[in-house]
């Protein structure tokens, strides 16, 4: 099962209050890395679309507006996954929300 568009799906095994972010998890078969921001969370696909570098090592920059895979410095917009310096590559972005201490995820519009 992969993440279905538009539907919130529960993430099992991650306690938002104790987890160390960024946290690597799965939703169905889809590997996701969840980041905590000042006012919430967001998720990205686990493997960089370029060479598969793990986004658990990724770094947020530009006040969280961009995310950089540390393997080859590819930078994407956190709002929509669009490439900043790497035309032709797009990172999947997920909305993440916390409901009663549990995280839920769905693909960003």
């Amino acid at each position: 099962m992969s993440v279905v568009e538009g539907e919130w799906q529960r993430i099992d095994g991650v306690d938002a209050s104790t987890a160390r972010f960024p946290v690597r998890t799965k939703c169905g078969t889809e590997g996701i890395v969840i980041f905590r921001t000042g006012d919430g969370y967001f998720g990205v696909q686990q493997a960089c679309p370029h060479q598969g570098g793990s986004m658990t090592n990724a770094v947020l920059q530009g006040n969280g507006s961009m995310i950089r895979c540390t393997r080859h410095n590819y930078v994407f917009r956190t709002a929509n996954g669009n490439p900043v310096n790497c035309p032709g590559f797009r990172l999947k972005i997920f909305e993440v929300r916390e409901v009663e201490g549990r995280l839920q995820v769905r693909p960003a519009a």
Binding site: T70, H72, N73, Y74, P87, G88
Partner: protein, 498 residues
């Protein structure tokens, strides 16, 4: 006269490897000797001093490059660099217009001989179209050599391309025609189309040509499946072909490097391949790459030789760089060998422990002292092309009337061309970028505006930290509507002022 006192001087070209003083005056090396006297003395006891380092493989121009080329040059102890393939024959003038007078570091160029406007962005997503091959204007190359040939130190070519070995042979012919070595990239073959004949470059390269990325761990390297150096590689070495490290983001494997070194093939040149996609790791600096080579068994003298006298000789720069001979420009690097426990990663994430690292402390360029700042290059504003989307850059308000009129004409011309950011996906639309580039250059020619003023005025409409890159390649990255609106705004300001 300035006396650099007490450093351990390594100058392989002159066979110097001991503690001795160096005197500089009027921007040149004055003398080397014991207890020299002068008005100003800088005590360098405990440090090493060598001729200014030369990095023959960096990317400062184009979308791989940097807003501040000195950040990977003089501020890291490197006094001369060669841009490896940034521009092509049609953008060498843009390269000069954007970089001349902007750097303390001496900047040479090794243009890409098969791509008319040079390396585009990430070369493996450009796609190879016949347009990259058919555009080899030999007369234009010879005209360039007659006018500006000193700036050009080699011609770059990749050992791939999807059109067989013919392209490589043409490149070799062009290099012979212009009288410069061929600089051949053999790395990241897994990302390139048309690599089946890649190893043919070991047969095409001649004496004095340079093969870079020798330690890469991808397909079509220098080793066979059993880890033995290929016979054609040994043949090339015997013919006088030179080998270069070219660390880069994909092309240094500890495993390959250790096997190659163990069999006695030692690269004559160490270069970094620094670019925005590896400056935050795993490359960091030329000093870091030299440290990796020391882990492979090279001594301090060995690595210094491979960034001074060897590259100077290979690129016929030895009349002005790579040695501390009296009368030569005072290009000097002062560095420490700092003991400690360090980990050095290759481009696959595998690490080796080292017990020291090289730390550049200061550099002299034509006698001018610059204190090193190894982290300066890592500033995001230096390596990330940041388009000012929300409001025009401050510099846009300072455009001259000539620039504003030019930008107005550019807006009119570009309004007749359609493009979208979809032209970047899934492959870079090179033909469209060339159309935009030609349009830009056409308006420059019609306007009679100096190329430098045209380029800086254009970038000042979009960037807070101007990049040194091709106008057409920049245009295709920016939403068309935003381009037209900004350019029209710039030109309308001119009308108001008039």
């Amino acid at each position: 006269m300035k006396i650099l006192r007490g450093a351990h001087v390594i100058d392989p070209a002159q066979g110097i490897d001991r503690v001795v003083d160096v005197a500089i005056a009027d921007g040149k090396i004055h003398s080397i000797g014991e207890a020299l006297q002068g008005a100003e003395v800088i005590d360098l006891s405990g440090s090493y001093l060598s001729p200014g380092w030369i990095d023959i493989h960096v990317h400062v121009y184009g979308t791989l490059g940097f807003a501040d080329p000195d950040s990977i040059g003089i501020y890291q102890g490197v006094t001369s660099v060669i841009d490896a393939g940034g521009p092509g024959i049609d953008t060498l003038d843009e390269f000069a217009a954007l970089t001349d007078g902007r750097t303390i570091t001496r900047l040479y160029v090794g243009p890409y001989c098969m791509r008319p406007i040079g390396l585009i962005s990430l070369n493996f997503i450009e796609g190879d179209t016949p347009r990259t091959l058919t555009h080899i204007p030999i007369v234009k190359w010879l005209d360039y050599m007659a006018a500006e040939g000193d700036r050009l130190r080699y011609l770059k070519i990749g050992a791939y391309g999807g059109f067989g070995v013919g392209a490589m042979r043409m490149a070799k012919g062009l290099a012979e025609t212009v009288g410069r070595p061929l600089y051949i990239h053999i790395g990241e073959q897994q990302l390139q189309p048309g690599t089946d004949d890649a190893n043919e470059v070991f047969r095409i390269a001649g004496a004095g040509d340079i093969i870079t990325h020798i330690f890469h761990g991808n397909k079509y390297g220098v080793l066979d499946n059993d880890g033995r150096i290929l016979p054609e590689v040994w043949d090339a070495a015997r013919r006088g072909v030179l080998f270069d490290v070219g660390f880069g983001g994909y092309n240094f494997s500890w495993s390959v490097a250790e096997k190659v070194m163990a069999q006695g093939l030692v690269p004559q040149i160490i270069s970094s391949d620094l670019q925005q996609f590896n400056v935050l790791g795993p490359v960091y600096s030329l000093a870091h790459v030299m440290g990796a080579c020391m882990r492979l068994g090279m001594t301090v003298r060995d690595v210094v030789e491979r960034v001074t006298s060897n590259p100077a000789r290979a690129l016929a720069l030895d009349d002005r760089a790579g040695a501390l001979k009296p009368g030569m420009p005072a290009d000097i690097t002062v560095f420490d060998v700092e003991p400690g426990e360090f980990q050095v990663q290759d481009t696959s994430g595998r690490s080796r422990a080292t017990n020291s690292r090289l730390l550049p402390r200061m550099a002299f360029k034509d006698g001018k002292l610059i204190r090193c700042d190894m982290e300066r290059c890592q500033d995001e504003r230096n390596w990330l092309i940041q388009i000012a989307e929300n409001e025009p850059p401050a510099a846009m308000a300072r455009l001259s009337d000539v620039q504003r009129r030019f930008l107005g004409r550019l807006a009119e011309t570009l309004a007749r061309i359609e493009w979208t950011t979809a032209d970047l996906e899934p492959k870079f639309n090179l033909p469209k970028a060339l159309v935009l580039h030609d349009a830009f250059r056409g308006v420059v020619a019609q306007s009679g505006i100096p190329l430098k003023d045209a380029l800086t005025g254009f970038f000042d409409c979009f960037l807070n930290h101007p990049f040194t890159m091709q106008a057409g390649v920049f245009l295709i990255r920016v939403p068309r509507r935003m381009v037209l609106e900004r350019l029209q705004a710039a030109s309308q300001s001119a009308l108001v002022e008039q």
